[in-house]
Symmetry: C2
């Protein structure tokens, strides 16, 4: 796959993630074939895509809905989806056996030189591509959900992935407007969920120990830490927070952070009782039947934020 020679893309799995990917590729001008093993999912796909694109148009993110839809085609078989694709994005249900089956099915259908990225958020490629035909052309291409609104993508090779695939996939993801990073080798949770998990673990522990409420811990991020992290990473943030840069910061504050880490050297699981108490606090803020409405609010905020970020300069 030379990234500038990708002329057609296949999306396998037409759930939320797969359909988000279809928007990403179509937005970049590429024809997209869409396949899902479920007839219901295939039947619903274009309607759901149309609704998502309508929301994006309403948010000012695009205005060529018909053009984007015109580049998407739902097909009835996996073979038809993959046959002409230079790049295949697989987003089927995240279970090892489901991932294994689809990798084994896709492998023999691949066009010469085509690459397969799996949207797996946690299962490493080595767990499901070992016996796939053309396994050297598979890697993890893990998006944040939804991929058409949050651009970060994690590229994680398996031990068998051809070394040339990762940089090519990185260039291709850049070309379609995503922000790819490379995870040099497999690690549990990859980078994004490990960083999220580290913060979550601390948040759960602080709540469990009675230092602050769920709501106050949330505010600390949504009206504090998240301001900088919305446009700068953690290293750049601290690089700008000491007169001499990041090494200066490390000398000043490294001992504090090491002390905090040592205090968490015996981490507890999120047990049922604790989860019940977190749940109770959340349900006071938001009834369970309001989750879909709040998710729609979240997506509106994501769209508005993306539009805001698109107007800003990273330099």
């Amino acid at each position: 796959m030379a990234e500038n020679s990708v002329r057609s893309v296949a999306v396998v799995g037409a759930g939320l993630v797969g359909l988000g990917w279809a928007i990403v590729f179509s937005r970049a001008g590429l024809p997209v074939t869409i396949y899902d093993a479920s007839m219901e999912a295939r039947a619903a796909a274009l309607g759901r895509l149309s609704a998502s694109l309508g929301d994006m148009k309403a948010a000012g993110l695009l205005d060529n809905v018909a053009e984007l839809l015109g580049r998407m085609r739902v097909v009835e078989t996996l073979a038809e989806a993959v046959a002409d694709a230079d790049y295949v994005q697989e987003s089927v249900f995240e279970r090892v056996n489901t991932k294994t089956e689809i990798a084994n099915a896709i492998g023999p259908l691949l066009k010469t030189g085509a690459v397969v990225g799996s949207s797996s958020s946690g299962i490493p490629a080595s767990a499901f591509i070992e016996h796939a035909t053309n396994r050297e052309r598979f890697l993890i291409v893990h998006p944040v959900n939804p991929p058409h609104l949050i651009p970060l993508v994690e590229l994680v090779p398996a031990p068998w992935t051809d070394a040339a695939i990762v940089p090519a996939a990185r260039r291709f993801m850049n070309m379609v407007g995503q922000v790819p990073i490379v995870v040099n080798r497999e690690v549990e949770g990859f980078i994004l969920n490990r960083l999220q998990g580290a913060l979550l673990n601390e948040a759960w522990a602080l709540f469990e120990e009675g230092y602050a409420s769920v709501e106050d811990i949330d505010l600390t991020v949504s009206h504090g830490l998240g301001f900088r992290w919305c446009f700068m990473g953690p290293f750049e943030t601290i690089d700008l927070n000491a007169p001499g840069g990041v090494a200066d910061y490390a000398r000043r504050l490294g001992p504090l952070y090491h002390s905090i880490a040592k205090a968490r050297s015996n981490p507890k699981p999120w047990n049922e009782d604790l989860a019940g108490r977190v749940e109770a606090e959340r349900r006071q803020k938001l009834a369970i039947d309001q989750l879909p409405e709040r998710s729609a609010w979240r997506d509106r905020r994501l769209m508005a934020l993306l539009r805001h970020k698109n107007t800003q300069s990273d330099t």
Copy 2:
């Protein structure tokens, strides 16, 4: 301090943090007296405030610069600053002996019922107010820097703080437009820096172990995790990320995060060698003499983001 009876505020310490606080209070319509032990800092204060307010005006955050400046007065003595103040925000240099000296000096000058918030980001109030006059009216009121652009404030009582002070300070901070949270009792790093530290510790470890570059770890946050955390906290984020809410999420993903935490049960310090390697990567992106320019970019982005957030609904 009944929050609606605060008619005058004193800002003690006219560095970046103190001057940011002066803007917060003046923006809320309150007269502010400003004092710093350094004659140079006093002489420079109004010019620096004027420049900051000009930047905010240029960013569309306010247009009444002269009105705000008109409510600020730099005074020559601590007694003059504090005499009429119903609330005192102390933001002197963060050393225990400096904090102790100023607490001992402010205590006897306080008007009846006045409250003192210290901007301390790490030193707990119990380390410096024990022997202060009126120590029951001191607490930590820790802002994010700069306080006029990032609204989160941590309120942390000392063991001697009058129990009525914390809720009153919370209402007062809400009244002046900040977003206060309560840390129920002292803990190293309070909430914000513990959450930041947890993510930083994981980031440093992932870099040290060769999983990803400094730049890619930064991108994971600035173009991934930070999208949601800019307007939702970690608990709300996961509450919306499982069909059954946060307890459902905990059942599905708690074991993964516990496993990640256990793998970090022997945390290493950020040693000099490692800090040097992080520094080297950052300096390839940004020369040391460009730090001030990049900090100005960060502040422009913060102002634009604040303006964006002000246009959005939290419901």
